[in-house]
Amino acid sequence: MNKMDETVSFRTGSVDMTHGGGGRAMAELIRDLFHRHLANPILDQGHDAALFDVPAGRLVLSTDGHVISPLFFPGGDIGSLAVHGTVNDVAMAGARPLYLTAGFILEEGFPLADLERIVMSMACAANEAGVPIVTGDTKVVEKGKGDGVFITTTGLGVVPDGVHIATEKARPGQAILLSGSVGDHGVAILSSRENLEFETEIHSDSAALHTLVADMVRDVPGISVLRDPTRGGLAATLNEIARAARVGMLLDEAAIPVKPDVAAACELLGLDPLYVANEGKLICLCEAADAEHLLAVMRRHPHGADAALIGEVVEDGNALVRMRTGFGGQRVVDWLAGEQLPRIC
């Protein structure tokens, strides 16, 4: 692009109402920012809607809104998160993600430099994942009516033949596998919150898991359940599965990987890592006989290197998730009520 054409100043400018007004400013923002960084043949068609052929088979569609604070955190930002989150939601159906869409709600006054950084991060995440963003939308709201930027992404994917993943397929006797350590993302976010800043080496685990899933379903097509334990952490996701399938779970606390830094931060803040969010981990339920083989497959993939067998599905009409504690007792791992809060005393 010729320097003279560049009318949007990404160095000093900020979002104003004209960027959503449908006029020249909006067109320039879309051209100089979104199209420039996110370029791909379908987006480049320049239509309001993306046009493409779909492969035969079962399709999956998933959408996710991202409203995080802070927008930038160790190991990622809202842009990469918006891509990874939706790629993962599609992948958890056992599917291969094909395309993404992105909707932006921008708050008046938001620095264009930050917006560019976010869009570049999305482009990078989408390229790495090999899943292009093929259409999008931008709206601007008045100052005070947003929180910088909100991003909604939608993903479309196709499920390979022979793969039927469904939460209700959890059955007593199945093994519960976890792809790696829990709590990294939530602690990374907390460590960079304005009123809680603390020095840490912990980075968010935000990552696209679809290639890991592809390896897993290829070798063990009979996997029954796949879920990514995001908000509410491992505990919430296991409770959701237990309730949907009317089964219980019995976990082994000592087998659940938690990084020492994450454990220390949680200890200090009075949080339980089982309830802390993850953005690059998955839980898998499979027949016990497949567990060892599947673990080996997961451990060969960079995002599953620390995969572990953390428990088993059991019969329980009350759909409780229980855990043998490292201390030698047993406890229920319940849903999280509200938000996890540091203790007072």
Partner: protein, 382 residues
């Protein structure tokens, strides 16, 4: 994790469990009150109860800062936020406690009041600095653990000339509450509350030391063991208590020696004493009015006292009828004795404070134990 895992060691727990079973006289029952919600939480989270013999029962005490705040004071806080238009800064747990007619700070916030969750008094000061044209009130609650930071905040606000900052002081004192539980039992509880000894507070005692419990232990003839919050701390303290009971001793012993001394943190005590002073009496949820059990801001710092700065209306405050929080806080009932427990009252829609706070007995029962059938101690250890 170093320095933490050592206190959660499974083998040591098994050894202690054996020692406790050996020490406990099968001919009698031991009722031990853990004063602090932090202990209640540890007992449930690590399954300590599973490791106890059948004749050791934990009686949950009133040591949950959010739980013991009377509804009236919470209603006042809601009023400060709603009617006086202040920025009300509060610790997170307090947001969800239901006040009169289920009105909580989180509801007030949803209706437009400016209520902000803070992690420390430093956050509240920062908010005051950043909003010079608004009145900022810190809703101070808690036992002696949280009192020094409140005192520091007031001193700092004065030093900085922060004229828009004040504190709604609700700090309460632990030894007074223990004395009240033993010395002035509610007539309804006679025959119901049985306490043979106390697991004494950990973090509170780091500030006040172990000495303040000595008079009560002697007067009421009950042993106290200051206990850390880790599960092995709790178990070792149980063993120490049972020994005292068996030997007929009523002493204050300190299991938590790595943190607590007899004299406590003198500097923190002096700091608190310079800014805060005793209230003649203070109302506790469950315990009623307890003499010399609360702190208020000294006149010298009246400018930072929200109670002097804002007038709150006379009001009739009511807890939810049939909520058993008061009896649970006195140790007279267990959460499962409450009709509301797990039916209309859950952490998602709490009817009483004990279901809100992670240090509350109801929340601990619900989150860690709901329908549990206690495993036999032998099995759990094996």
């Amino acid at each position: 994790m170093k320095y933490v895992d050592e206190f959660r060691d499974r083998d040591l727990a098994a050894t202690l469990a054996k020692a406790i079973r050996k020490e406990a006289d099968p001919a009698r029952h031991y009722y031990l009150m853990e004063f602090c919600g932090g202990h209640t939480h540890a007992i449930f989270r690590y399954g300590v109860q599973d490791l106890m013999p059948d004749n050791v029962t934990f009686v949950h005490g009133p040591g949950c800062p959010v739980c013991v705040l009377p509804v009236r004071r919470l209603d006042d806080a809601v009023e400060l936020a709603e009617r006086h238009g202040v920025i009300l800064c509060t610790y997170g747990d307090m947001m969800r406690v239901p006040g009169t007619k289920q009105r909580s700070l989180i509801r007030a916030k949803a209706d437009g009041a400016d209520v902000r969750m803070v992690y420390s008094t430093a956050d509240a000061l920062k908010i005051a600095r950043n909003n010079p044209d608004r009145e900022v009130v810190f809703f101070a609650i808690g036992f002696e653990t949280t009192t020094p930071p409140t005192a520091v905040a007031i001193l700092q606000a004065e030093a900085e000339g922060l004229t828009n900052f004040s504190v709604f002081c609700n700090h309460v004192l632990t030894p007074a509450a223990i004395g009240h539980v033993l010395g002035s039992p509610d007539p309804r509880d006679l025959e119901k509350v049985r306490i043979d000894g106390f697991l004494g507070p950990s973090h509170v005692s780091a500030v006040i030391g172990s000495r303040p419990y000595e008079a009560g232990a002697e007067l009421y003839r009950k042993p106290v063991v200051i206990a850390g919050f880790e599960p092995l701390d709790v178990m070792q303290s149980v063993l120490m208590l049972i020994r005292q009971i068996n030997e007929g001793r009523n002493e204050v012993e300190n299991q938590y020696t790595r943190v607590v001394t007899r004299e406590g943190n003198k500097k923190a005590q002096d700091l608190v004493a310079s800014v805060l002073e005793l209230r003649r009496e203070f109302e506790w949820r469950g315990l009623g009015t307890v003499p010399d059990s609360g702190l208020k801001i000294r006149d010298r710092y009246a400018a930072f006292d929200a109670e002097k700065r804002f007038e709150v209306s006379e009001k009739v405050s009511r807890e939810v009828k049939s909520c058993e929080c008061p009896a649970i806080l006195r140790g007279a009932k267990k959460p499962t004795d409450c009709k509301l427990f797990g039916t209309v009252c859950t952490p998602e829609s709490p009817m009483g404070s004990c279901m809100v706070s992670s240090e509350g007995a109801c929340a601990a029962y619900w989150s860690y134990g709901r329908f549990r059938t206690p495993a036999k101690a032998e099995e759990a250890v094996a």
